[in-house]
Symmetry: C2
């Protein structure tokens, strides 16, 4: 039973449709929206942010929205046993929701061309609704969130996917969002607001492969999609754009037994029990190795990330002008999934990984999660890092994707998928495991088992 | 699919066996073990605990085992928007595991008659293994944990149940334990150590109904049990000891659709998103309204609970003599499940409830969770509290059960099940929902959805 998944056959059919009369050119739509508004994003000192105060923590004067606080971390996972870092605290559950609806029998996704000030590519496709509680209760003023009513309790909705999923575990403390896909009946009209348009999953797939076109919040929602077998018959792999996509579809489809899934969960619980994590919120002033001043919060060696101030002027967002802190990581972050044909089916190597902000301590992450800013030097690099330089003939995907541009500045992450040859031997530590995409998707739909970095990659493998 | 459940038919068959030659008298076995050892438990001032230090937190000098810290809580759930309290912090995942094995075709559970110093009934049936990581890594010295090897990674085991489940959310911060049931093949010998014995589920059921015979850790493991239909045929309800147990079995068995389950999960996520919770660990000294001195940590009005010192001398536990802090709640705690026959099937009313220490903020709890020590007065009593005084003719279960006697002193909780007549109208707020036992069990096996108080009651309804 997969209680949180519906519409799997419809998703697969939509993935095979790469053109739609509703949005003839998905790239042009984005560009047009970007040109229709002006944005002026500027770095400012933290002390220049109106209504924000830097003390024991960085906080808005009304105590709402989010705070940046100190975090003291102890763990026996990874090369560092103890460190301090700032972390974003926002103890509320936001909604990331996509409305889908059939047109001429094909499922379309209502996507928003949305400006986010932190992104290097300003305007990207976002979920229909991307709202923190502060947003939709309008803590920072602004207009009502359109389409929110489709996702709230008590409305008529056919829920295809609904799960609480974790956010970035190094940058957010215990943050999770509700990821939803809701289907509206074919005969019900949905008004298409400015900046919104209907895309097939095939169109989204193409935008995902281009990179920096589909934002992080949309990607995590899309990672909840399961593919059905198309009315129970074997789907035509020939309809896939290339041999690798045929392999991906087979990896989504390959059946697995309950026993195998139970063994995977038992292994995952073993990993959760193996490693310890103790985090403690502290005053920003109590963080070793960090400098907090009127300009920014930054590591004394320039490592990890900075907390900076931003002023944003835009005509297309809920509020015309605003100021906020943002987290700016060191550049050159990369996430990679290594895959290999095993027993004829493509399997992906996931790493059980501890992150200080995860609600449940440890989740499955990509094979390699490489954040050079975190490492003191090559001795701290994670296992398998050399595969980031795999030969081009092994590379199946290599794109740049953004993190949440509402909180993170210039946070571009290279997304890499490497297929190693069948006869290549890879030695992975015990906290790594090979999974098909079907198994990975199933674990995603279970809840707090797959981290946002792995989900972001999985969305690129639809 | 229920990936974490196996052996459902065997569990049901074992539940119907109330006598076993392996343990002719389960009550006598307990009494015998209690008489075979001597226990001397004495309250001492916190300052008299060797190796423990009371400062910003109460901690062991080696930093291991557990700490007691201050917690500042803000929430919009319940009558109090803000409070401070001490809380036990032990950021490691323990193992609560029961070995089961068939004898003459009937599944038996290897239970330990275990002394826990906090319990009013000293010796109770515990799981085969009940070990924190500190325990089994022998932080506080002592003997190795017997049978631990059956539950560790890499051993040959047939896992019937394996899930991380939450502990008491008002007393522990983010504590969860791994609950496991592991089957050993019939032809494999298992040495029965002193204090251990094999019981059928029918025998355990009887001990549960007597009260204070099966400890909290064993109850939470048992709550993971699902009943099968007995080889797919309709089981004989006539074999049940009484009409109420026949109704319970039917409530376990009544099929539910994936759609219904998905609707329940969506409702539960709605509840998680409706309420906010923000907790912050603080110095004990920073807690409003609390007194911390050499004697104890206590609320200035005598409410909530005390943190006290205990000295324990025993001959039957891992360590002969030890000292530790304990949490002693105010007396007269009660948990109650209200049930009602709806559409011919017994349904139970669960409350979605926020507790400060829960890993995921909100879980399903009993209909009524009544902790008089927490309330300033009757104005703070939870909804439906008057049902605690329901007429005797409605009462289906009324026993005392202990909380974890390794951490909590004199923590007896009344467990009550009240069946209201079919024509009785009960008005419950929106955060309550009627579920069959089959649905509740399914949610339990999903992970962090059902709190330990509700699971403890569910174990009494096997």
């Amino acid at each position: 039973m997969q209680p949180e998944v519906n519409g799997a056959d419809d998703f697969l059919a939509s993935a095979l449709v790469s053109k739609s009369p509703l949005t003839p050119d998905a790239g042009a739509f984005l560009m047009e929206r970007e040109e229709s508004a002006s944005y002026d994003v500027e770095r400012v000192p933290l002390a220049a942010l109106p209504n924000w105060h830097l003390g024991d923590r960085l906080t808005r004067s009304d105590g709402k929205f989010f705070t940046v606080e100190g975090l003291s971390v102890r763990t026996d996972f990874g090369p560092l046993a103890q460190w301090s870092q700032p972390i974003i605290v926002q103890p509320e559950i936001g909604i990331l929701g996509i409305i889908v609806k059939r047109f001429d029998g094909v499922l379309h996704f209502l996507m928003q061309a949305k400006m986010e000030p932190g992104n290097t590519a300003f305007v990207q496709y976002a979920a229909t609704v991307q709202a923190t509680q502060s947003n939709y209760r309008r803590v920072h003023g602004g207009r009502a969130t359109p389409y929110l009513e489709y996702f709230l309790e008590g409305t008529r909705r056919r829920v295809l996917f609904d799960q609480l999923l974790s956010e970035h575990g190094f940058w957010y403390l215990n943050k999770r969002n509700r990821n939803m896909i809701v289907e509206v009946p074919e005969d019900e009209d949905v008004t298409v607001e400015d900046d919104f348009t209907w895309l097939t999953l095939g169109q989204l797939r193409h935008q995902l492969q281009l990179g920096n076109r589909v934002n992080m919040n949309a990607r995590t929602v899309l990672s909840g999609i399961a593919y059905g077998n198309g009315d129970g018959t074997r789907p035509s792999y020939a309809e896939q754009p290339d041999a690798f996509h045929a392999d991906l579809l087979a990896s989504h489809h390959t059946p697995f037994t309950d026993t195998h899934l139970a063994a995977t969960l038992t292994w995952l619980f073993d990993q959760k029990a193996t490693y310890s994590l103790d985090v403690r919120r502290t005053s920003l002033a109590d963080m070793d190795e960090w400098i907090c001043d009127d300009d920014s919060i930054r590591h004394r060696d320039g490592r990890i990330f900075d907390i900076i101030g931003m002023s944003v002027k835009a005509t297309s967002r809920e509020v015309g002008t605003w100021y906020q802190p943002m987290l700016e990581p060191r550049p050159d972050n990369a996430v990679a999934l290594i895959c290999q044909r095993r027993g004829g089916v493509l399997h992906f190597l996931l790493q059980a990984t501890v992150q200080p902000g995860l609600t449940d301590r440890l989740e499955l992450g990509p094979t390699i999660q490489f954040s050079p800013g975190y490492h003191r030097g090559p001795q701290d690099f994670p296992p398998l890092t050399p595969y980031l330089d795999a030969p081009a003939s092994w590379t199946r995907l290599d794109t740049i994707q953004s993190e949440d541009g509402g909180r993170f500045s210039q946070a571009d992450t290279r997304h890499l998928v490497v297929e190693i040859p069948e006869d290549h031997t890879l030695e992975a530590p015990e906290n790594y495991r090979w999974l098909t995409l079907g198994q990975l998707g199933h674990l995603t739909r279970f809840g707090y088992h797959v981290n946002v970095e792995a989900r972001s990659l999985a969305a690129c493998l639809l």
